[in-house]
């Protein structure tokens, strides 16, 4: 049995053993990661994997199996076990058949160009990033470069059938001018043509240089200028919590907010996996439905939750083609740009804080949106429309809905963000947010 035939064989076996619906995909990936710190490579890694995911339904009874076996006999045993597991599973509340194919997918979305996985070439990218930061004065540079070439073969019992190729380059680079003065930047791209490791290094180095000798920040409410990495982190929260599964599980501040204002009218958020030549592009979801552009928030109004067939059926809606067989998920988040430049937005703030990056975002209450997160890397006081001095040791402690409702301005410049803290690729602008609460340690 050829590798690419495994999903269709799994579907046949699933139906033969008694399933009403089967979706099977095989993901074959070749990924190389170069990690570096203190200006040198610390670990070089290559992962080659073939993973098979099969999901079966016997109407309301459902089960899933992830495995890596490749022989015909082993597949038959696995499918028997899986269907048996579904048969003994208690029924769920609804049965939503998989979307009926066959479907036509946009061929341009199915086949992005491959990227090089040549180790020497990748090490050179790392050198470019380190050099870019060092030229700006960075003493130490750390980060990771990831090159991925993968393909996914999908077959469903409802006649969805396709092969999606995926390739990407990701550079995450953090520059240190001192132990407590650092900057972070990224370059993520689908092709070598758009990949800018040196520029990512330069941006990280510039922030680090500006952040030298920070003073302790004072807790207060400020007008905040959030860099694209911070705003993308917050936008990820909206995207992920717009999943109907998260709403149903009580892990969303968007519960009971459909068609109501959840953000200022400056904010429009679209999940667009059909946007050519961007990181999160894909032609179909895990149920085989052709992906589409979904407006999640339009001028501040929540327009849709993200659905797979099952979550959609529960509220008698249509799938948005965001399956996740269990949990719908956003693919490729795009924030509509504003009209002003970063410099114009900065010039309009009399007194405020500019935050370039953050991490460790945790909720006290997902349903309400109360949370805190910690700025890291360069953070700066803004005085009279200019960056004044670097500050440190502040925490953003606020409410996610309030933050989005207090968005006053978005920049026309946007950056693609995806890194350790931001899992969903997001095209994010700078954002001016009024009245943001900053706290700090008391002793």
């Amino acid at each position: 049995m050829k590798r690419e035939e495994i999903p269709s064989h799994a579907v046949e076996l699933g139906i033969k053993f008694g399933a009403t619906d089967v979706a099977a995909n095989l993901i074959e990936s070749d990924q190389t990661m170069i990690r570096f710190s203190n200006n040198e490579v610390t670990a070089s890694k290559n992962f080659r994997e073939v993973t098979i995911n099969v999901f079966v339904m016997i109407e309301r009874q459902r089960a899933g199996f992830t495995f890596s076996i490749l022989s015909s006999k082993a597949l038959e045993r696995a499918m028997k076990k899986l269907v048996k597991m579904a048969k003994i599973s208690p029924p769920a509340d609804v049965y939503a058949p998989l979307p009926k194919g066959p479907f036509k997918y946009d061929p341009a979305l199915l086949r992005p160009p491959r990227v090089s996985s040549d180790s020497n070439e990748l090490v050179n990218y790392v050198r470019e990033a380190i050099d870019g930061a060092s030229k700006c004065g960075a003493k130490r540079v750390a980060g990771s470069l990831t090159a991925t070439n993968a393909s996914m073969v999908l077959e469903t019992s409802s006649r969805a059938s396709a092969v999606q190729r995926r390739s990407s380059l990701e550079m995450s680079v953090r520059a240190f001018v001192s132990e407590i003065a650092s900057g972070h930047s990224l370059s993520i791209a689908l092709s070598q043509r758009d990949f800018e490791p040196a520029e990512a290094g330069r941006r990280a180095g510039e922030i680090a240089k500006m952040a030298l000798n920070p003073t302790e920040g004072q807790p207060d409410r400020y007008t905040a200028l959030l860099g694209p990495m911070v705003f993308a982190h917050f936008v990820n929260q909206v995207g992920i919590q717009s999943s109907a599964f998260m709403v149903d599980a009580g892990q969303s501040f968007l519960i009971d907010k459909m068609d109501t204002r959840v953000a200022s009218d400056k904010f429009t958020l679209i999940d667009d996996p059909t946007l050519m030549d961007t990181y999160g592009v894909r032609a179909f979801d895990d149920e085989g439905a052709p992906t589409k552009r979904n407006i999640i928030v339009e001028k501040g109004i929540l327009k849709t939750y993200l659905h797979n067939s099952t979550t959609a059926k529960k509220i008698e809606a249509e799938t948005t083609a965001n399956a996740g067989l269990i949990m719908p998920t956003p693919w490729n988040l795009v924030v509509k740009p504003g009209e002003k430049s970063f410099e114009e937005m900065l010039s309009e703030i009399d007194e405020g804080i500019y935050v370039t990056n953050n991490w460790y975002l945790r909720y006290q209450n997902y349903r309400k949106g109360d949370f805190s997160t910690i700025p890291r890397d360069g953070m700066f006081q803004i005085k009279n429309g200019q960056i004044a001095n670097p500050v440190r040791d502040l925490r953003i402690s606020d409410n996610m809905l309030k933050i989005f409702q207090n968005v006053r301005e978005l920049s026309k410049e946007r950056l693609w963000i995806k890194w350790w803290e931001v899992p969903i690729p997001t095209l994010a602008p700078y954002a001016t947010v009024e009245d943001l609460s900053f706290t700090k340690s008391t002793m």
Partner: protein, 479 residues
């Protein structure tokens, strides 16, 4: 699989690696999910494969594959060496491994009740029973539980670890784990949420011991009482008694993570960050003399259990803070070589396709001599924070925040009414230095600690007894 693991190791050595290790790892997980009383899909995940890690001219290379054959494991060895070779020109200091006496043998936890003795329906019925108990007790407290989610995982991890310095370890570890998420709601009083994990390296007997219907009923009842009864916390300077759940996360975040030697060396700088400690911090006073924090992978049935790490080093208790003084860092062989010390077996990896890095196992405050009652009796004006929801810490592990969930005011040594969301926002040294008394009880909680790139969420326990902090200034409650 041992033959293939040995073939991978031999191939890497023949290709010129100065150090080589090969690991076979199989992780099988069965998950059931109950959301709002309704079963979601049941899932089995079988992840198994090989990895090869090498040092070639001081350059570290790693490769993995889940296609299991002689050809693919030899190819994995070749890829590990080749990718290490490609980076040799960038290496200045590079990587070497500390010399260690390495283990040989087999480690196996035999479950008293095997997971496959419990059918799927029984597992789901148990969660349904717990769900029902939670709803009933919330109703008794006059609140609703509009969102409930429970994920019950049963897992088995098998490893074979061989390296060119003589390690030969195999292990079989079962684990049971529960993730619970509850939302209590009242139209006038608002909502509150509770998230927690349970986990042990054991068979189904662990799940039976947890008594989920009783536990989740009590959790739901307490959560409901919090939204119905809790008032704003007092302000000003006061004493604070922390419960074992809060002490556990404090130990993990502000003692275990800062003591990881790879952070000290900057190896995690771009992701999980660094630490306020440096190579010369051993002997530094960071807390009062009642503070003794340890990390011990060998605790029987602990979620972070192991007896040999991924590099074949025998595990034992690590004393991170002794009487308030930084006493020991967490090392693998790579960091130990840089520091000129022996590894204390902190090298862990979560799957066949993840490199082993420095990790905690079971990190906790060692018990003292006070009962919980004595700790509270010693407080004239203060609060008791039993558990928490929100927390975070900066990437140098110095500025942290814990927001209490179930919490009470203390007046003249007695627990009074519940208080809502008391905020402990404090520095690491400020917190540990304010500790004046430690309880003699000891409890553990399960967690998945995140670190590495790609991310590795690894099973750990966090824990400790009750403990008291003096002269704390709490943050204000949220509106």
């Amino acid at each position: 699989m041992e033959d293939l693991t040995r073939l991978a190791l031999k191939t890497a050595e023949e290709l010129g690696a100065s150090y080589a290790e090969a690991r076979f790892q199989s992780d099988i997980r069965e998950s059931i999910v109950l959301k709002n009383g309704v079963p979601e899909v049941s899932v089995i995940e079988e992840l198994k494969g090989f990895n090869v890690r090498v040092v070639y001219k001081k350059s570290l290379g790693f490769s993995s594959t889940n296609i299991i054959s002689k050809r693919t494991v030899k190819d994995a060895a070749r890829r590990a060496v080749n990718i290490a070779k490609a980076a040799t020109n960038t290496i200045r200091k590079g990587v070497s491994m500390s010399g260690e006496k390495l283990g040989e043998g087999k480690v196996e936890i035999k479950p008293r009740i095997r997971f496959d003795c419990i059918d799927l329906d029984s597992k789901i019925q148990l969660l349904k029973e717990a769900d029902k108990a939670a709803e009933e007790l919330a109703n008794e407290a006059k609140a609703k539980l509009p969102a409930r989610m429970f994920i019950l995982d049963t897992m088995k991890t098998e490893k074979i670890i061989l390296n060119s310095d003589g390690a030969n370890i195999s292990s079989i570890i079962p684990r049971a784990a529960l993730v619970a998420f509850l939302t209590a709601y009242h139209p006038q009083k608002g909502s509150a949420q509770r998230f927690f994990n349970l986990g042990e390296a054991a068979g189904w007997e662990a799940v039976e011991k947890w008594n989920l219907p009783k536990l989740l009923g009590e959790e739901a009842q307490s959560l409901s009482k919090t939204i119905m009864e809790a008032r704003s916390p007092p302000e000003g300077e006061m004493d604070v008694v922390l419960g074992p759940e809060v002490i556990g996360i404090v130990c993990h975040e502000s003692c275990g993570h800062p003591a990881e030697a790879d952070r000290i060396l900057g190896r995690e700088a771009a992701q999980a960050g660094e630490t306020y400690l440096n190579k010369d911090s051993l002997g530094m006073q960071v807390g009062s003399n009642v503070v003794n924090v340890v990390d011990d992978p060998t605790l029987p049935s602990s979620f972070g259990f192991y007896l040999y790490d991924e590099e074949g080093v025998k595990a034992g208790k690590r004393v991170l803070i002794k009487e308030g003084v930084v006493n020991e860092f967490l090392h693998n062989r790579e960091t130990a070589a840089v520091f000129g010390v022996q590894s204390n077996a902190a090298s862990r990896s979560v799957a066949y396709d993840r490199e082993p890095i420095v990790r905690m196992a079971n990190t906790f405050l060692e018990p003292g001599d006070h009962s919980k009652e004595e700790l509270i009796e010693g407080v004239k004006h203060g609060i008791y924070i039993k558990n928490f929801m929100e927390w975070n810490i900066d990437d140098r592990r110095f500025h942290e925040r814990y927001v209490g969930l179930e919490a009470y005011r203390i007046e003249n040594g007695e627990l009074k009414e519940r208080v809502r969301n008391p905020i402990l926002e404090i520095t690491t040294v400020g917190l540990w230095s304010a500790m004046d008394a430690v309880g003699k009880d000891l409890e553990f909680q399960a967690a998945y600690c995140g670190k590495g790139d790609p991310m590795q969420g690894i099973p750990v326990w966090t824990g400790g007894p009750h403990a008291r902090l003096t002269k704390i200034r709490l943050g204000g409650a949220k509106a």
